[in-house]
């Protein structure tokens, strides 16, 4: 498989802090990759830098063979990368329907979009029932489902997710990972940052372990899940 995303020696600086230091990772077409690490390891900074939300200080980001490191977020979305940010990033004062419409902002095939949005309402009746209500009134889990479905409406080739399960009840977490499984089935590649290492490894093909802005380990997700040192560090076992 060829690399869809290739991050090479990326460096991100936040004020005085070197959030990401000479970091390299790849995500292949249709691959599910997770990134595990303690708080402050630089995971969010890495995702933001890939999505064009924050500038980098060196290295390159190749997406589908093209250098995208100098592009800003609104230029990257049409290329096929969409980030579901930490804390969901819902437009709280806009309705559920308008949030979904924003997800399809870059698309011109509005008739097809309308059909896809209807399908989302069918599949998630809670979103359908509340389509005209401010999205800020949804529960945390519903907001996360909305955020992920909104992101998928931009038809990404690569979906970046920052802590999608954070603060959610187990049933909601299950619903969210089911949504990601369906998206993956449709051919979307996934780069997942997740605090819940068990969950992340179970839903990934490959995994990177990150600490202090650098990759410390990487490999097959199933093998890393068996690794004693990782069990010790991230599962609390």
């Amino acid at each position: 498989m060829s690399d869809l995303l290739a991050v090479n020696k990326l460096r991100v600086v936040y004020g005085q802090i070197h959030a990401v230091q000479d970091l390299s990772l790849t995500v292949a077409e249709h691959e599910r990759v997770c990134l595990i690490g303690a708080n402050g390891a630089g995971k969010t900074s890495l995702l933001k830098a890939i999505a064009g939300m924050i500038p980098h200080r060196g290295g390159s980001v190749q997406f589908a063979g093209r250098n995208i490191a100098h592009l800003s977020a609104h230029q990257i979305v049409p290329l096929g990368i969409t980030l579901v940010p930490e804390g969901r990033g819902i437009f709280t004062r806009m309705s559920v329907a308008e949030n979904l419409a924003m997800g399809a902002y870059i698309r011109r095939d509005k008739a097809v979009v309308a059909v896809e949005i209807d399908a989302i309402y069918q599949h998630y009746p809670r979103l359908g029932e509340r389509r005209h209500q401010p999205a800020g009134q949804l529960s945390g889990g519903e907001q996360q489902l909305l955020a992920i479905n909104r992101a998928l409406l931009s038809r990404p080739r690569l979906l970046l997710l920052d802590e999608p399960s954070m603060g959610l009840a187990p049933l909601m977490v299950k619903a969210i990972f089911e949504t990601l499984r369906l998206a993956h089935q449709q051919g979307v590649a996934i780069l997942l940052v997740e605090q819940n290492a068990h969950l992340a490894l179970a839903h990934s093909d490959r995994a990177y372990i990150m600490a202090n802005g650098q990759i410390t380990q990487h490999g097959n997700a199933a093998e890393l899940a068996q690794d004693r040192s990782i069990q010790h560090a991230y599962f609390g076992e």
Partner: protein, 309 residues
């Protein structure tokens, strides 16, 4: 009774002009949290450009109905002001996008002064009169008088307010504007180019200001390089009264302020036993501004600003 109705009519007419100008303040504030103090001057430029075109056409002896000549003036003023508004944002505010908030605010005051001086250099210090090319008739309503120009102002303002509301609530651009207002970063993740949305916001607000400028100069029959200052401050007060950042609030605040000002000017003599006269008209806007800032800083329709994502 008829004096009350008359003051209400005058107040609504004046208030609808304030509302149009207030929309420009509130749209920009909603997205950038910047009070664009140069907005009053954009309104003034609208009046000046239109009058320049009108007097040029009249001077050349063009044989067209007065309404058409006025319309040609307006249709020149709108794109001119749009260009001006775009230029102000591009040159003065965009370079300061990430600067501390005080910097663009002071820059806005600077731009306002620069524009006043440019207008003075081009059109001089004297008052420029609006030629009597619009219908001069009037109608009687509940014992009060409403002129054709007043009706024109009310209708034009209403049409613009409805159109802007539809644009913001129903179109993709309007959605992008509201999304950018809530969070430019988040809107960027949807593929929205925040700079483009900001430019369009300035362009739309300035176009509306051009119409307001032409209407107000037609109403008073005058234009002057300094007219944008007081008009701008009053419209700003109207925006704060309604809840700055809130479109419906700007409209409501504008109309209310116009009515308060008009009633105040009409009755201040009676209330103070002749001690203060209607020349104190301009005080009311700022009196209202002070009351609002003390009693309800978020304005009539504004929400406390801490809910920004």
């Amino acid at each position: 009774m008829d004096i009350l109705v008359q003051q209400l009519i005058n107040g609504l007419v004046l208030g609808s002009v304030y509302a149009l100008v207030a929309l420009g303040y509130t749209m920009v504030y909603g997205i950038l949290e910047l009070i664009n103090f140069a907005h009053g001057e954009v309104t003034m430029f609208g009046a000046m450009v239109a009058l320049a075109v009108i007097s040029a056409l009249l001077g050349a002896g063009v044989d067209l109905p007065g309404v058409v000549i006025a319309l040609l003036g307006l249709l020149t003023a709108i794109p001119a002001c749009m260009l001006l508004g775009y230029g102000i944002e591009r040159l003065a505010y965009r370079p300061l996008r990430h600067a501390p908030r005080l910097a663009p605010l002071i820059t806005a005051i600077g731009v306002s002064i620069v524009l006043q001086n440019i207008a003075m250099l081009i059109w001089g210090r004297q008052y420029i009169s609006f030629p009597p090319i619009l219908p001069q008739g009037y109608h009687t309503l509940l014992g009060a008088r409403i002129t054709d120009v007043q009706i024109l102002i009310l209708v034009a303002s209403l049409v613009l307010m409805v159109a802007l509301t539809l644009l913001v609530q129903r179109t993709q651009l309007g959605r992008a504007m509201r999304a950018t207002a809530q969070s430019p970063q988040l809107a960027g993740l949807m593929g929205v180019d925040a700079n483009r949305v900001i430019s369009l916001t300035f362009i739309i607000g300035s176009g509306i200001a051009a119409v307001a400028g032409v209407l107000v100069s037609a109403y008073y029959g005058l234009a002057h390089y300094y007219m944008g200052f007081l008009l701008g401050l009053k419209a700003f007060s109207a925006a704060v009264l309604g809840g700055v950042g809130n479109l419906a609030g700007a409209m409501l605040g504008g109309l209310l302020l116009g009515v308060i000002e008009s009633l105040g000017a009409g009755y201040i003599g009676d209330i103070t036993g002749g001690f203060l006269g209607s020349n104190y008209q301009d005080v009311f806007a700022f009196f209202v501004l002070i009351i609002v800032l003390i009693v309800r800083p978020s304005g009539l329709l504004g929400k406390p600003s801490h809910d920004r994502a």
